[in-house]
């Protein structure tokens, strides 16, 4: 059987998600054996050419040129997976979506005219159809492996979609929201990170984005009882997955 051709593409991002793939270290050579890694600019000179069975996308869309590029990549690929907060929901840079880009540019660069940037940082799925999204800032690399292996077997990856709290309880970590009144985003955040923060007594700050149907307002009501202001609450969700949390928040305003 011909090896599936895979391409790894980068848009506006920190490179961390691509690095997550490289961080598979011991399995990486295995991946190279079962896939034909035909494009992966971070680690290979291979030029962009041909059709891809899988395109793995990192990064958000934030320039006109990237809009064209992502359309091109979509046209040359059968199955598209976006990985990481930037690709799935615009990333931390989507914070500029709530501010004026011109103002942003001015504050950073002395001659802003030469900088090309869209007013917003967009998820890949706002420009092209995405077949599968792997959330997280960064996504857990074992989930990347599961996703790729699942592709070979022709199935959806076995990645649960429930709240982080589920994973937290399963791991037997004492809940810091209930026992310490910490403003943990676990109840509204997707599981998948391995409960890194609560296991360090740190409230979850939402790397994996909102879980489906997250009841953000109800959690904010709890946080307010702990003494946090509305502004502080908003800042808690306005991070790497700001766009996704806000969408979920305003969607949930109308009851399901």
């Amino acid at each position: 059987m011909k090896k599936p051709r895979i391409g790894v593409f980068k848009f506006t991002s920190c490179d961390g998600c691509q690095l997550s793939i490289l961080n598979l270290e011991e399995q990486l050579l295995g991946i190279l054996e079962v896939f034909d890694v035909a494009y992966f600019r971070e680690v290979s000179d291979k030029p962009l050419a041909g059709h891809f069975d899988i395109a793995v996308i990192e990064g958000s869309i934030s320039t006109d040129r990237q809009v064209e590029e992502i359309i091109d990549v979509r046209e040359r690929s059968t199955f598209m997976i976006s990985i990481g907060a930037c690709a799935t929901c615009g990333g931390v840079q989507a914070l500029k979506n709530w501010a004026s880009a011109a103002e942003y540019k001015r504050s950073v660069y002395p001659s802003p005219e030469v900088i090309e940037t869209l007013a917003t940082s967009d998820p890949i799925s706002e420009h092209v159809h995405v077949d599968y999204e792997l959330w997280g800032c960064p996504p857990d690399n074992s989930a990347i492996l599961k996703t790729l292996t699942s592709f070979l077997l022709g199935r959806r990856p076995p990645v649960p979609t429930y709240a982080l709290c589920m994973e937290c309880k399963q791991k037997g970590i004492p809940c810091i929201l209930v026992s310490q009144s910490e403003p943990c985003l676990g109840p509204i955040t997707k599981a998948g990170c391995g409960v890194l923060c609560p296991s360090l007594d740190r409230p979850c700050y939402g790397c994996f984005g909102p879980k489906e149907g997250a009841n953000i307002d109800s959690l904010f009501t709890v946080f307010k009882q702990f003494g946090y202001s509305q502004n502080e609450c908003m800042q808690m969700i306005d991070k790497m997955n700001t766009y996704a949390y806000r969408k979920e928040k305003y969607k949930a305003a109308s009851p399901t």
Partner: protein
């Protein structure tokens, strides 16, 4: 004669950049390392944010060296708040950094730059290179394992906070890593020989290299800023002497040190650190370097791989030492109360000095900030290197020049994702 060298997308570097050179009438009329990585405006959206967000946000500037960002920002904020951390916290931070140096250096040596010496397009296309790729991945994994124990995960670790850590590791989960680290250290010593024996092109150039220097140790989180041309300043003073300007077709700013009226581009990174702090390396590393006949200081940026390999060994060695010395502190962080102020802090990221400066308000919210990553400090220098190389080789075919230019750029281990985050200072 008119020649154009154009690299649309640099490969085997972090982030998106290119190179454009125009050669006309026997001279270089245009030379521009361009960066089209789209800016992400961190400095803008940090404004009005609580101080912990600095650590979590700036980490997201770079997936390769998030720890560096976390370190520079934690130190800067602590300086403003007047926080003194426990010696064990200091130790853990240094250990954290060794993990990132290992991970980042192994990646660059074996997966990014290494293939250049074997004419390979990637670490896995040539079977003769595969053993080296495997070794690199193995080293890298050890660095990542260390990062995971300390921070939960290697990319954007979650444990760092102002005043220390959210949680500190158990001694036994760290000592469990010693075996691997020690073995890797032994292997890495051989690898220095390998690196020193590589066929280097490029050219030697007189240059100013800058790094931190610490009286007792190879620099990471603390020290004064020094150079081979007599610079010896505090972090704040260095920040005052820094000048940056924007160049056309680039979203990054170039840096230089100002002395009186002259502006000198300078070099930061492993080569600079190695040259300026050679004496602080473990004796075995030093003697192997000497045995290979390598002359210190290095004056060819192409030889950065030797410095990087020496630092990789050092990092393994240092990690073992730190783990042995580690005692679980009673508290993972020190209490503090936020207050207003401004501070600069510099730490040694794998790619060189990472400069952070923050102005915080009374509640510890960000009023203004400046981030100057190593790659942007190196850009001017990089262009000069390419210029010098081309000047000597103008007659060679464009293809060859293009390949060589790309190698020069790669030897800097540029991190273009980082380099777009430079804020110009309004200074009189």
């Amino acid at each position: 004669m008119k020649k154009r060298i154009r690299i649309d997308y640099l490969s085997r570097v972090e982030g998106e950049g290119g190179l454009l050179v125009e050669i006309k009438d026997g001279g270089i009329s245009r030379l521009n390392v361009s960066i089209f990585e789209s800016p992400r405006f961190f400095e803008s959206f940090l404004r009005g944010r609580p101080h912990q967000d600095i650590i979590d946000f700036t980490a997201r500037i770079c997936g390769i060296c998030p720890v560096a960002y976390q370190m520079s920002s934690a130190h800067a904020v602590e300086k403003i708040f007047g926080v003194d951390v426990d010696p064990q916290i200091r130790l853990l931070r240094r250990l954290f950094y060794t993990g990132e140096w290992i991970e980042s250096h192994a990646l660059h040596i074996y997966l990014l730059q290494g293939p250049d010496f074997y004419g390979a397009e990637s670490a896995w296309t040539k079977s003769e290179y595969l053993p080296l790729a495997k070794k690199g991945l193995h080293f890298k994994k050890i660095g990542n394992d260390l990062l995971s124990v300390l921070g939960g995960r290697p990319i954007h670790p979650v444990s760092v906070r102002t005043g220390g850590f959210f949680g500190v590791p158990k001694k036994k989960s760290l000592t469990a890593l010693i075996d691997d680290l020690e073995k890797a250290y032994e292997e890495s010593l051989h690898a220095i020989r390998w690196a020193a024996g590589l066929p280097f092109g490029g050219i030697e150039r007189d240059m100013e290299y800058v790094s931190l220097r610490h009286p007792e140790e190879y620099p990471m989180n603390e020290g004064r800023v020094v150079s081979n041309r007599g610079l010896d300043m505090t972090m704040e003073e260095f920040f005052g002497a820094l000048r940056e300007h924007q160049v056309e077709r680039s979203t990054a700013l170039h840096s230089a040190v100002q002395r009186n009226t002259t502006m000198t581009p300078y070099l930061v990174g492993p080569l600079a650190r190695f040259n300026l702090n050679f004496e602080m390396l473990p004796p075995e590393v030093k003697s192997i370097i000497r045995e290979t006949g390598t002359l210190v200081p290095l004056h060819n940026t192409g030889m950065g791989i030797i410095a990087r390999s020496a630092e990789l060994s050092f990092a393994f060695h240092e990690a073992v030492r730190l783990i042995r010395d580690y005692e679980e502190p009673a508290k993972a962080f020190v209490e503090y109360s936020p207050r207003s102020g401004t501070a600069t802090w510099i730490t040694e990221a794998p790619r060189g000095m990472l400069i952070h400066r923050y102005e915080l308000d009374d509640n510890g919210y960000v009023k203004a900030c400046t981030l100057i990553p190593p790659t942007s400090q190196n850009l001017g220098h990089m262009e000069k290197d390419i210029h010098a190389f081309l000047q000597k080789n103008l007659e060679k075919p464009a293809d060859y020049l293009k390949r060589e230019c790309e190698k020069i750029i790669r030897s800097y281990d540029p991190c273009i994702s980082c380099s777009v985050h430079v804020l110009v200072l309004k200074r009189n």
